[in-house]
Amino acid sequence: MTTMPPYASMLGLVRSGATFTMPFSSHLIGSPGRLHGGAVAGLMEIAANVLVRDAVDEPEAALKPVNVTVDYLREGTMEDTHAEAFIMRIGRRVANVRVEAWQGDRKRLIAAARLNLLIVRPTPAAELPG
């Protein structure tokens, strides 16, 4: 189980299994009555990072974000927001991840993201046996 970083605490994130929740708080507001898109992006990035962290078998490996693309599908209202990440592929060097974010209704996504994360392992692949 991976501990969450200070930025996740600042967003107020709570983990429950594969789902991360960002409880509504006024400091997440971007424009009147709406969540800031950056807060939703932060939630999705952290959900992806923690999922990959848990999936990498080497605890010494470091994760580095390469990029993230966020599609905003509906406005985020002043409610709790949830996110779940899915690993499309994980290799020795890169993890390709997609993330879904929703509020009341799991099927009504408010945002979707794709991320590529670099996996920097202490042991180069060439030195591995076999």
Binding site: L28, G38, Y72
Partner: protein
């Protein structure tokens, strides 16, 4: 267009103050206004321990940079229109070129390089002191939700 809101300094300051005070999340991240032009805007996010993603190195979260750039991009749309027109981020992509240096403020500069009736196209960079060595590049689109 001679009635543009942003044509004199006093109006610009009021515009900026209104923009900033309307965004609690900017205040939470410590994001402040730096400068802007006819189609670009620059915001600054001071280094803070609450932004950290990697406690062992002190490097801040990429998500905080994403928030800064989403805001700078949105601000560039405002100044390009010359008024507060409602708009919403349609999509935003951020390429993280390198980690931000611990302890340094991050500056986000975005420009609205094309505006149509309903869609604004933006691009920008984030840097921590030298714009020639960016931390991140962004590209995105905004829907002008006030358009009929």
């Amino acid at each position: 267009m001679n009635e543009r809101l942003l044509d004199d300094t006093g109006r610009m300051q009021r515009f900026v103050d209104r923009f900033m005070s309307a965004v609690p999340h900017l205040q939470a991240l410590g994001i402040g206004y730096v400068q802007s032009g006819s189609n670009w805007a620059e915001l600054r996010m001071p280094y803070a321990s609450q932004l950290v993603a990697y406690p062992e190195t002190g490097v801040i979260a990429s998500g905080a940079i994403f928030s800064l750039m989403d805001s700078a991009a949105g601000f560039s749309v405002f100044v390009t229109m010359g008024r507060f027109e409602p708009h919403a981020t349609l999509d935003l992509r951020c390429d993280y070129l390198r980690p931000a240096r611990p302890g340094e403020a991050v500056v986000g500069r975005a420009e609205c390089y094309k505006m149509t009736k309903r869609v604004a196209f933006v691009r920008g960079i984030a840097h921590d002191g030298d714009p020639e060595h960016p931390i991140a590049h962004v590209a995105g689109t905004f829907m002008l939700t006030g358009a009929k």
